[in-house]
Subunit: 413 residues, 2 copies
């Protein structure tokens, strides 16, 4: 994040600005006005400006706090705007969003707007908590070095009783899953109450730990109003659990930050349901890269970033860029483990592994429970596929000695 | 909300479904697949389905919990999907969003998707807190019946010292504002610390109350991580304040619900900065009507819904529909006062009033502080314009006896 200065494909403006004391936002702007002019207007509305001159704005405030356009790329309609760091409250993600991605999306003079990227100064980055564990901390906690973690999503995503849920979770763990997670819409429901699910799943996870000699992670979905969410996180902790899952977009960043700041010692697993409502159109909204940066600041240990090869939209380049960001040094903020999730099955692992390397959680829902021989076989097949990918063994060769993997490859061709 | 059954412009399906026990979502879907087929797929992914058959899904769960397409309008690409109410946790907005507006936005088979509307069954509506005061409660609290409330936004939106902020707030109150609000990105900043601003603004608000004989509302922006947000709300309460402002979109619904559930006895004023990142493209994302419904469930007393006549995008029809929803009976959930904000000045009031009627907060930033004779005159001019609109006096006639209003009308032609 050091070099936020526009590169050769940008026309540079305000070259003397000290970027160590500025936050730089990159916008893609579509407007009838020339890019330079509309970029100035966007800079105004997202900092100290309004639509008419006001007597309350002094010359000195204007000089000290106004945002400046520092780079323009007219070919791609990109503008880079630098904001004095005094405009931002340390450690407050909602305030950051209200500033650089607030009213500007509503302006009539802008026909389309996208917040493409954010480059933050070190002092601001370090004002956030970041992940409590991060990639290294989670690996230390569960003692699995050097290979992707295997996640299993309970399916159907909603509808299992708590007993059935825990039983299937046990089969996943037994077959080789390192982590079992609730799906995005399973919270506290009549047929599957949260506390029952937590108690019973943890009981069977411990049994699987004894039987396999491996440590297991249970990611319980605590997505709820922030007060209730923290109560549920405390309940998980009280029962000896090690992880909570949240839907970061539907809870929002004030809830996510409060959860992290409650310091419960739980791994935070971040699902991103609803992100596409804001990230998918490349000309509007906010990029997933920006969302990932904010989630890392807030303190997610593990974040869904796309599969590259599964059922969901999103380009390979985008996911690679996001994963690369999550894994690189960033002030004192720990690294985040990306999660590949959505439509995965054993036949896709080798391709996925080539793109992601070992620091990834590979998540399977249908790709485990849809196995022709059931959930246990499904989890075993996935584990075989992951181990093969890590060793570099071709999947068909691995399948020669593994009937469950062979069956999986035949089932999902 | 009683009649969620598709009307004549929809092809009706699954007519026997009891809609009292179903939540109905209306989607606009663009896909290469025929509408009926893609609607079924969307219904699956947003309820109990996944991309492949799974052994863990029993016939009885499928029958009881699967979502059903109940209406299709192929001309407008609209589909109405009914979800069994058991799929939803009472009182949990994030879980609702994760279900009906989660992964479906990411599906490759869908090229564009918009959540257009939500019709909720009464039992579900009543599981939420809703506004603590609502329209009637706020009017009772500040003893202003039958006319629009006048709001003043401090400008520049960020940059004033706390002393200057409070002084200008005093002038607004003195001139006739009923409510003074922080802007969306002003929280706790070095040059304007939250606690100083609260103390000094409340002190001068009390002076203005004594001098004018009117009650005043100070809407302090507490947008922050949820734990900190609630601390700030408690601080406002401890200093005798009566209102807190939040940016509902950038804090997110888990934070908003937690704030309401903290039961602090403060009026909650909802700014919607960033909503356009998700609401503006009519073919994607989530409609502002849906956001407004969720904000009302969560417990906002006052909500920004567009000006119809100002600087921000949004159609007249849309704002009228939202305002109409906010003001109509809805289970046991109180009514919400809409706020018109963004680019307003005295010359626009008569037109605005014709559309909104008396139950509205008219907010002015530049339209007060940009007055050629300064903030006090600006507030006086606005008050004159509002009183004229309520009496039905033409604004130019009112201006004959009011130099400040005359100056305002001349300034913003």
């Amino acid at each position: 994040m050091k070099n936020a200065r526009p590169k050769s494909n940008y026309l540079a403006l305000n070259r003397r600005l000290d970027l160590k004391s500025h936050l730089v936002a990159t916008f893609r702007i579509e407007s009838k006005l020339p890019l330079k002019e509309i970029a100035q207007i966007v800079a105004g509305e997202s900092s100290i400006g309004t639509w008419t001159e006001v007597g309350t704005l002094s010359e000195s405030v204007f000089k000290r706090l106004s945002a400046k356009v520092i780079g323009l790329n007219t070919k791609k309609n990109l503008a880079r705007i630098a904001y004095p760091i005094e405009l931002f409250e340390p450690g407050n993600i909602p305030q950051l969003l209200s500033s650089v991605s607030g009213n500007i999306f509503s302006m009539k003079v802008v026909s389309k707007l996208r917040l493409v990227d954010l480059d933050l100064p070190l002092v601001y980055i370090n004002s956030f908590a970041g992940p409590a564990f991060g990639i290294a901390g989670v690996r230390r906690k569960i003692k699995i070095p050097g290979r992707p973690l295997i996640g299993a999503i309970m399916k159907p995503k909603i509808g299992l009783s708590w007993r059935a849920h825990a039983r299937f979770a046990y089969l996943c763990f037994k077959g080789g899953a390192d982590l079992v997670k609730d799906d995005e819409n399973l919270t506290d429901l009549k047929f599957n109450p949260f506390t029952n699910r937590v108690r019973e799943t943890l009981r069977l996870a411990r049994r699987a730990e004894r039987e396999t000699g491996e440590m297991k992670i249970c990611a319980f979905n605590i997505t709820a109003p922030a007060d209730e969410m923290i109560r549920r996180a405390k309940y998980i902790k009280s029962q000896g659990g090690n992880c909570a899952m949240v839907d970061i977009m539907t809870i929002g960043f004030s809830g996510l930050q409060a959860l992290r700041q409650a310091k419960l010692g739980l791994i935070l697993h971040g699902h991103r349901a609803m992100h596409s409502a804001i990230t998918r159109d490349p000309e509007r909204g906010i990029s997933m890269l920006v969302i990932a940066k904010l989630a890392r600041l807030a303190g997610i240990d593990q974040l869904h970033t796309g599969t590259v090869v599964g059922k969901m939209a999103g380009s390979v380049e985008e996911t690679v860029a996001i994963n690369s960001f999550l894994k690189k040094p960033w002030g004192r903020i720990k690294k985040v483990m990306p999660i590949a999730s959505g439509g995965l099955h054993p036949g896709l692992i080798a391709r996925l592994y080539k793109i992601t390397g070992p620091d990834v959680i590979v998540n399977f829902g249908g790709g485990i429970h849809g196995h022709p021989n059931g959930t246990l076989a499904g989890a075993q097949a996935v584990k075989e596929a992951v181990l093969a990918a890590v060793k570099g063994t071709p999947i068909n060769k691995q399948a020669e000695d593994s009937p469950v993997l062979k069956a999986a490859l035949k089932h999902w061709k």
